[in-house]
């Protein structure tokens, strides 16, 4: 029996405003991402890709359509079927264009906090956070505040934070936009490694066409619609 998809979106529609000010950001989007699959999502600004990503992140409820994560129905239109905040901390990981590290916490603590809010005791949380930082190659900087880290190091800490609770789905919104070319590629390869090694579904919104080869599948979002471009490997 096949494992359930990491995420499955069915006929998702998102409308902002109403009447004269109505904007249809997402018309009728459906997609399914398998565990261990890394998907790139491309599209011009305003195409609806961020709307789709935030809907899957459970922070922007759709107007209609369903979202299943790990086989579990979580959204039916704007109606939440689970405790969204609890579901996010247990099943989702987030990485953004900016690392968005908490400035008053060290690199280690930034990862540890994601575990502690998920009820992991401080000591095992610290151990797990250190393991993740070492896995991502920033273990030596664990006691530094974000201000003392380079952009690439900050982004690695953010990835470690996203991985902390072994999420079934990782959502990344232009994670390499603030990084230079080689470093951006390094981070994208890291996502691919995580998807394959941790068996998590990874969706990356990006404009960077130089990293097309790391994706298992590429989706083009345009005018609120999703089109499957190709498999980058085939």
């Amino acid at each position: 029996m096949n494992p359930p998809p990491a995420v499955e979106v069915t006929h998702l529609r998102k409308v902002y405003g109403s009447g004269h000010t109505e904007i249809v950001a997402m018309r009728d989007a459906s997609l399914s991402i398998a565990p261990g699959e890394i998907v790139g999502m491309f599209g011009p600004s305003g195409s609806g890709k961020s709307t789709l990503l935030t809907a899957m992140a459970l922070i922007n409820p759709p107007t209609s359509g369903q979202i299943h994560i790990g086989g579990k129905p979580v959204m039916d239109g704007p109606r939440a079927l689970v405790d969204l905040r609890a579901f996010r901390r247990q099943h989702l990981g987030f990485v953004f264009q900016k690392a968005n590290l908490i400035p008053f916490l060290t690199a280690l603590e930034n990862v540890q906090i994601a575990l502690e809010v998920n009820d992991v005791a401080p000591k095992p949380a610290c151990t797990r956070a250190m393991e993740l930082l070492e896995y991502l190659g920033v273990g030596a900087r664990s006691n530094n505040l974000p201000v003392a880290l380079s952009g690439g190091e900050q982004q690695r800490v953010a990835v470690a934070r996203a991985l902390a609770n072994n999420p079934s789905l990782i959502l990344a919104d232009e994670p390499t936009a603030a990084l230079d070319g080689p470093l951006g590629r390094q981070v994208m390869e890291l996502f691919a490694k995580i998807a394959h090694e941790k068996n998590a579904g990874v969706i990356v919104v990006t404009h960077d066409h130089r990293t097309l080869d790391v994706f298992d599948r590429i989706l083009d979002v345009e005018d609120g619609m999703i089109q499957v471009r190709s498999s980058s490997h085939g």
């Binding site: 922007n60 603590e109 540890q112």
Partner: protein
């Protein structure tokens, strides 16, 4: 992981400055409570220490602490004859201001019923009680008059033979203790010229009436000593203090004395109540209003600082929400910061107060119960102050973190 402490560590400078400000405000709040306690302590000190069971004052008056009370000094002898009375003492008390070494010197002159009372009940920090009927005095050390100092009051010099500590009157002026006759001599002292003028006036009044013209001897009496004229009023005192025999029925003694129409009798507690309701009540309300205002100001300052600290980390709060932190984690962060700010301020207020309050001109008395009350108030105002920040944090959407 305690997020509040880590955030404070990151913003240590701002937190420290704010805490100092809050601390100074709380120190004033604490000090005002202490001033009120000091007022009560000083006002009731003498009544408490003197150890009388009953106070006899001028009829239909509230006694020497509330208004002028004048009763004849020989009332003491009448009262002593009442069954159940063990001892009576005359109470003479008045405030004088004189020059000493070029500086104004204010003191409360207190009469002791010599020879029964030489001030042995006073806690002396130096010297001894009174041992002579005249020209000795005991002074409070707040007057800065060393033992052995001789000061002139009226026509006579008095030597300081004993020193007390913390014995001040209701106005905060140091108490001095004399024999009653010396206290009255100081109170009724008149310059020689005033006496000569008074005697001349008396002679003129006697010459103006038939009796004076018919009995020339009266003219000689009129220009003589005041004490030699039987028609003039006897010396008067403010009150008579009564000590009862052990086991005596207070109600019975009081009933007997209350039948005398020229006097009014109060218990020590009644005298204290009159004293406090008359003198301290308005000060209490005034200080209470100031305290309330300062507490409100402290609350507003803590609230604004916590609110701005919350605004500063609004994206961090959004991120915490995004990664699934419960409201209790976020609310706890803000509440703990407010409580820590209040606690640091309170600790600082207490610490500064230890050094500052003893230097105040009036007694600032901080009771442990007042410290506990203020601590509870600080917890309450800190909690209230955090509500604004918590409200702001609760309304932050997790997707705020994306809107960079």
């Amino acid at each position: 992981m305690n997020l509040a402490v880590r955030d404070i560590r990151h913003n240590a400078g701002r937190f420290a400055f704010t805490s100092v400000g809050i601390g100074l405000l709380l120190m004033i709040v604490m000090g005002m409570g202490g001033i009120y306690r000091g007022l009560i302590h000083e006002a009731t000190l003498l009544v408490d220490r003197v150890g009388a069971d009953l106070w006899i004052v001028q009829g239909n008056t509230r006694g020497p602490f509330a208004e002028v009370s004048r009763i004849p000094a020989n009332l003491e002898d009448r009262v002593r004859a009442v069954p159940g009375v063990a001892q009576t003492r005359r109470f003479v008390s008045h405030t004088i201001q004189r020059e000493h070494q070029g500086k104004p010197l204010r003191m409360v002159v207190q009469g002791l019923s010599w020879p029964e009372d030489g001030g042995d009940w006073l806690s002396l920090v130096a010297g001894r009680p009174l041992r002579q009927a005249h020209y000795e005095m005991i002074a409070d050390e707040s007057l800065d008059l060393p033992l052995g100092t001789r000061i002139r009051l009226g026509k006579d010099f008095y030597q300081i033979v004993g020193l007390t500590r913390g014995m001040v009157g209701t106005s905060g002026d140091g108490l001095t203790f004399f024999t009653v006759s010396d206290a009255m001599a100081i109170q009724f002292d008149q310059p020689g010229e005033a006496l000569r003028l008074e005697r001349a006036a008396r002679r003129a009044r006697v010459e103006a009436v038939d009796t004076g013209r018919l009995q020339p001897l009266l003219l000689d009496r009129a220009v003589g000593l005041t004490s030699g004229i039987p028609a003039l009023a006897p010396p008067q005192v403010s009150a008579v203090m009564v000590t009862l025999r052990p086991g005596a029925d207070v109600a019975s003694v009081r009933r007997t004395l209350s039948n005398w129409p020229d006097i009014t009798v109060y218990s020590t507690q009644e005298q204290k109540d009159l004293l406090l309701s008359g003198m301290v009540d308005k000060a209490k309300r005034q200080l209470g209003l100031f305290r309330a205002l300062l507490i409100i100001i402290s609350t507003i300052i803590i609230a604004l600082i916590i609110y701005t600290l919350t605004l500063d980390k609004i994206r961090d709060i959004a991120l915490l929400k995004l990664i699934g932190a419960r409201n209790s984690v976020i609310g706890g962060l803000i509440l703990q910061q407010a409580l820590l700010m209040g606690s640091f301020g309170y600790g600082l207020a207490w610490w500064i107060g230890q050094y500052a309050f003893p230097k105040f001109p009036r007694l600032v008395l901080i009771e442990p119960s007042d410290l506990v009350s203020l601590a509870i108030i600080v917890v309450i105002i800190s909690t209230l102050a955090s509500l604004l920040g918590i409200w702001k944090a609760m309304n932050v959407e997790p997707n705020t973190v994306l809107s960079a």
